[in-house]
Amino acid sequence: MPPAGIWIDGLIQSCTYMTMAFGMVLVFSILGILNWTHGQFYMLGAFVVYYAITAAGIPFFISIGITGLIIAGLGILIKKIIIDQVQGDLYISVVTISLIFFFEGAASMIFGMQDKGLAMVLPGVINLGSFSVSYQKIAVVIFTLVVMIGMYIVLNYTKVGLAIRAAAQQPDAASLYGVSVERLSFIVMGIGCALAAMAGGIMAPLYTVNPFIGGIPMIMSLLAIVIGGIGSLTGAIVGGLILGFLNSVVAYHLSYFSEVVLFVLVIIILLVRPQGLFGASLK
């Protein structure tokens, strides 16, 4: 049995993967494309928070909100000027994959390649008997809970949420009932990018910030989506939880080969249940 610290690390990782996978699935269910650039929005979010705190001296929680707004704007801009102009689903994937290159290149030119460390903005630890947890980590968990509950309320009890669910199920029928799927796709893209950016921002004080931190969360949230089933929001959350805990617990026992174990697990899930744990049957 791994020590409690490992489990808490797993919980922190799950929170990131859950938030990112949730945003990706939300975008996928409306736009019908996977946004491969999601990890780079995570990275940009971390950078915005870093500079908001060190250069402008904005308080941590406000800067996370600002990050969400800025990156949501960026995502909507990309949707408007690039994704909408390219024809064909395949080429949209190509464009979003090459935007990974674009953003990492831009970030390393503007911010530099070296690691940047953010001092703990919420110092102090809470003692729980044999082990202790820093407030920073608790903030990550609380943030994720707030985001998830917020998204649950938005999706289930508001008109926008109703429109999103309707458009995800039947875009044509939804537009017949007066839902502008076009405008909805911008809202959803904004929400998805903001979730990734805020996840990056809230994690920034825990790890170092550099232009390449987006890769691992992106791959992991892709795998989480595969486990949960593409297009299923519950699946994204459960997949993120499974993957985060599994990653840190397996890494405790197997060190470097843990990722191989995860990939093999995902391949087995694909073989046994191609639509994922919570997905409907494949189109």
Binding site: G88, Y91, G105, S108, I219, V226
Partner: protein, 340 residues
């Protein structure tokens, strides 16, 4: 009676033939090692890009082509360095091993295809990197394996010495590029190639016509895997070293970018143009020593190409458009390219 010559068809092909002839004769003009090794490396990338394009023809989007290069490169490096085999058998074994891995992965993943295939091939390239990095006893971890050029071959009184100059290796690469281009071109023209395009265009219709989708996808993926493995072996022996980080996710994306920029409407021409142009451009950008500018511009180039040359026609289409519009001044018509 004079035979009718379609000069509009013949003249562009003659120009292409002359260009190819010039490339073949480059070692006559210059034996500069830098120029030749740049051409060698762009040829190697061209093979990998052709493989990617063949897989893309079936509508599948592989993000792990560099992993097959790594598998090929490590296979031939391990067999020559650790087991002391000569170059040639390990070179062919590299293709075989890479093809077998492609066959197995394809049989597992291509059942579902689509986005799942992209994600799993992406995961595959990470798995290969982690194994290469951690299996210290065989791959020497991050230090990498030091390979060497092929042994000299004596043909009668004439000896091909790979150590003395880069020229023989240039011709070896050129032969493999030509062979790959020929085979892929023939596949594209054959019934098999039309089946590939058909299952990409409308999988449901193709399945109802009695085509077993997975068979064609696996064939394309395996053929691509074999040639990419051979290219990987050439890559490892040309750089005389192979490390885990040389052929990772970023190189897979680079292969994708070269393919899209070159154009996917032809299986041989587009990939070769894309690989040569982007590799040369990338090498020039690395010399500027501004970190990140290469990624930034590569990403921007793809976006621009897809915005202004839609549907993946790429640069190879510009060549035809140049002859039609600038030289012959024909009327505009929409070229029909395979849709996604």
């Amino acid at each position: 009676m004079m035979p009718f010559i379609d000069y509009k068809n013949v003249i562009p092909k003659t120009v292409i033939g002359l260009l190819v002839f010039l490339i073949v004769l480059i070692p006559v003009f210059t034996t500069n090692v830098a120029t030749l090794s740049m051409l060698i490396l762009s040829g190697i990338w061209a093979i990998a890009v052709m493989g990617f394009t063949l897989v893309l023809r079936t509508g599948q989007f592989s993000l792990g082509q560099a992993a097959f290069m790594a598998i090929g490169g490590y296979t031939s490096a391990i067999f020559t360095v650790k087991l002391g085999w000569p170059f040639w058998p390990s070179f062919f074994l590299a293709g075989v091993v890479s093809g077998i891995v492609a066959l197995l992965v394809g049989m597992v993943v291509l059942r579902v295809g689509g986005i799942y295939f992209s994600i799993i091939t992406l995961a595959l390239s990470e798995i290969v990197r982690i194994i290469a990095q951690q299996w210290e006893s065989v791959t020497r971890g991050t230090r990498g394996l030091i390979t060497s050029m092929p042994d000299p071959i004596s043909l009668g009184g004439f000896e091909i010495n790979f150590f003395a100059s880069t020229v023989p290796y240039f011709y070896l690469t050129l032969c493999l590029v030509a062979l790959t281009a020929l085979i892929f071109w023939r596949i594209g023209e054959s019934r098999l190639g039309r089946s590939f395009a058909g299952i990409a265009l409308n999988p449901v219709l193709a399945e109802h016509q009695g085509m077993y989708l997975m068979k064609y996808r696996v064939i394309a993926f395996t053929v691509a895997g074999v040639f990419t493995g051979l290219a990987g072996s050439l890559y490892a022996h040309s750089l005389t070293v192979i490390t885990p980080y040389m052929l990772g996710l970023w190189q897979s994306i680079q292969i994708m970018i070269m393919s899209i920029v070159g154009g996917i409407s032809s299986l041989a021409g587009g990939p070769i143009i894309g690989a040569i142009l982007l590799y040369t451009f990338g090498t020039y950008l690395i010399r500027l020593e501004i970190y990140g500018i290469q990624q930034l511009l590569f990403g921007a180039v793809v976006v621009l190409v897809l915005l202004f040359l839609p549907k993946g026609t790429g640069l190879v289409d510009l060549w035809e458009r140049f002859w039609r519009k600038v030289v012959w001044r024909e009327e505009e018509y929409e070229p029909d390219t395979p849709d996604d």
